[in-house]
């Protein structure tokens, strides 16, 4: 349906206003991170900052261990995203393509697993890792994050796979491909965008997780970025400027990740997305 010009102008204006409203807290976060401590608490009306300082950033980045924490976070997060995707694809294929006893049971499990009271699982999971001798090892954190995002990943990928017409695979099988080959050669490439869309969710979930990271990793060398973010708070003092700057730094990898996958995300979601 074509819209008339005034209609389009009106809609785009609404879009811009929406973006401004939605972007405002982020804008405020970013400008605050560039403000001197005095200006953060200035009684003046300062919608646009009067001056800019990079001190918050330099002091945040000079906190000891930043690169170690960043590396740990990337390992754990990307590892969790990848393993969840692999396990998710493996599960999505039979769920969407095969008929077998227990199929519905697994779908039920995936839905119910979303209900698991994650915060309350801290103690049981801690004891589990302790008794398995996995405390203080990055893989244990990776596993936990994978498990946290897996039900969601399974469900989404299942939807994506089903959104891809089965006839494409069948055609490949007629051409002599095996069942798995057909899936790998035909469906998997089409699934790319779906994988991307799902991974954004997993990435953000794992990247932001604090409590398990704090409790399961005891050595300084094993800490992750969310734990680093909390180092700006001491017994008597809180470095708010530092927290803001650190938050900006902290959000950058997630943003980069999104920008890389953004094109695929939008085109990909068209392929069937979370549709049932």
């Amino acid at each position: 349906m074509r819209k008339s010009l005034p209609q389009r102008i009106a809609l785009n204006t609404v879009g811009v206003v929406g973006a401004l409203l939605f972007g405002f807290p982020t804008y405020w976060l970013i400008t605050t991170s560039f403000k001197t401590p005095g200006e953060v608490l200035s009684p003046r009306y300062d919608l646009i900052p009067f001056s800019i300082t990079f001190e918050n950033f330099t002091s945040a980045l000079s906190k000891p261990g930043f690169t170690t924490f960043l590396t740990n976070s990337l390992i754990v997060t990307l590892g969790a995203v990848l393993t969840a995707l692999v396990a998710g694809v493996l599960a999505a294929f039979p769920l969407a393509r095969m008929r077998f006893r227990g199929r519905k049971g697994f779908l039920f499990l995936v839905l119910v697993a979303q209900l698991a009271p994650i915060e309350a699982l801290l103690i049981p999971l801690y004891l589990l890792m302790r008794d398995a001798g996995l405390l203080n090892q990055l893989p244990s954190l990776l596993l936990v994050y994978m498990a946290l995002t897996l039900p969601f990943t399974c469900w989404m990928l299942y939807g994506f796979v089903k959104g891809i017409p089965i006839e494409l695979e069948e055609a490949a099988m007629i051409d002599g491909c095996g069942r798995w080959q057909a899936f790998r050669r035909v469906t998997l490439p089409l699934l790319g965008p779906g994988l991307v869309a799902t991974s954004v969710f997993s990435f953000i979930t794992a990247w932001n997780e604090f409590l398990f990271a704090l409790v399961l990793m005891q050595d300084q060398g094993k800490r992750t970025i969310p734990v680093w973010l909390s180092t700006f708070r001491e017994a008597f003092l809180v470095d708010w400027g530092g927290i803001m700057a650190a938050s900006v730094i902290y959000a950058v990898p997630a943003l980069i990740f999104f920008l890389i996958v953004q094109r695929k995300l939008v085109s990909g979601l068209t392929a069937g997305a979370v549709k049932g």
């Binding site: 976060l29 069948e170 803001m244």
Partner: protein, 330 residues
């Protein structure tokens, strides 16, 4: 879709087509027998193991803990002290628990509704926007999504600060002098409103993107056809857009209910459930009654009761989701 239909219609090997759509796979499976009957289970194994070992099993442990006294002492010594149902009795006998439960449900309902409405609006809007404005909107959405909760909470506290907050300053500038020094955190409803805004702000992006994806999946021809039939915008929405996003809406509502019911970080960071406990929700209640004092027994009992509430709320959804799935698979 049209081209793939042709593929399906082609004679598939030597098996007579049992149904017009997917004869081949079923036929092959019957022939292949053993390998194919084990294959699905092998493929599901990693997922089942991970979910089973790291989500379901700890939850079972949590059920056991809810019947125990598990304070710091018991945790360190590994002692098992069973207390029967007294953890549940204490919680259910606390009038505050019921008050908090009702508050949590109302709060969750409001936040989910706001999230879905705003996200749906944004998704519909995004479809109409010119590419530049659309990307602008999308970037603001993603940034809101990716902002760590600690930082988001702090920023909201600053925006709503009584004296130095940009909101009060702006309102005063616009002539609303009543807002000079207005306190947004002096009573429960106002505090919960700010918290609700914060949560909605961070929850909308995921829902909006999902719905948008569903919308752009609808072939343009369908809209054009509706246009030719003389349907107005609302009728077009009902006839064309709605069927495309309805299943997505079901799953995102399902997830939103779970997430917003359980949200802790933001509620805690803003006012620790205050003032006078008026913004205490169930996760806060669980923290205060259990985790804060290392009383993991009561904490587990509250977690179980929360799970029960969610199951009651969502049983219908689970049914709905499973049924639509089953119908779909031929």
């Amino acid at each position: 879709m049209t081209s793939t239909k042709d593929v399906a219609a082609m004679p598939a090997g030597n098996t007579p087509p049992a149904s017009p759509r997917v004869p081949t796979l079923r036929a092959r499976r019957r022939r292949k027998g053993f390998g194919d009957s084990v294959l699905p289970y092998l493929l599901l194994a990693p997922g089942v193991l991970a979910i089973g070992a790291l989500l379901i099993w700890p939850t079972v442990q949590l059920v056991m803990i809810s019947f125990r006294k598990l304070d710091l002492r018991e945790l360190v010594t590994g002692q098992l002290v069973w207390v029967g149902v007294s953890n549940y009795g204490d919680v259910l006998g606390d009038p505050e628990f019921w008050e908090v439960t009702v508050r949590t449900l109302v709060f969750m309902g409001a936040v989910v509704a706001a999230t879905i409405v705003v996200a749906l609006f944004i998704a519909l809007l995004m479809k109409q926007l010119n590419p530049v404005v659309r990307v602008l909107l999308q970037v603001t959405l993603v940034v809101a999504w990716a902002t760590p909760a600690v930082a988001a909470t702090t920023v909201f506290q600053w925006i709503f600060d009584q004296q130095y907050g940009i909101l009060n300053k702006t309102l005063a500038l616009l002539g609303f002098d009543g807002f000079i020094g207005h306190s947004w955190f002096s009573d429960g409803p106002s505090t919960l409103t700010v918290i609700g805004l914060l949560i909605t702000w961070q929850a909308v992006p995921f829902v909006a993107f999902s719905l948008y994806a569903g919308l752009i999946g609808v072939p343009r021809e369908q809209y054009e056809a509706a246009g030719i039939d003389g349907a107005g915008p609302w009728q077009t929405f009902r006839a064309v857009s709605w069927p495309a996003i309805q299943p997505i809406l079901t799953i995102v509502t399902f997830l939103s209910v779970i997430w917003d019911f359980r949200v802790f970080t933001q509620v805690w960071a803003i006012k620790q459930g205050g003032p006078d406990g008026e913004s205490t929700t169930l996760p806060i209640y669980m923290y205060l009654k259990g985790i804060a004092g290392s009383h993991f027994g009561p904490a587990a009992a509250i977690a179980m009761l929360m799970l029960l509430v969610l199951v009651i709320l969502l049983a219908r959804y689970i049914q709905l989701l499973l049924r639509s799935k089953e119908v779909d698979l031929k």
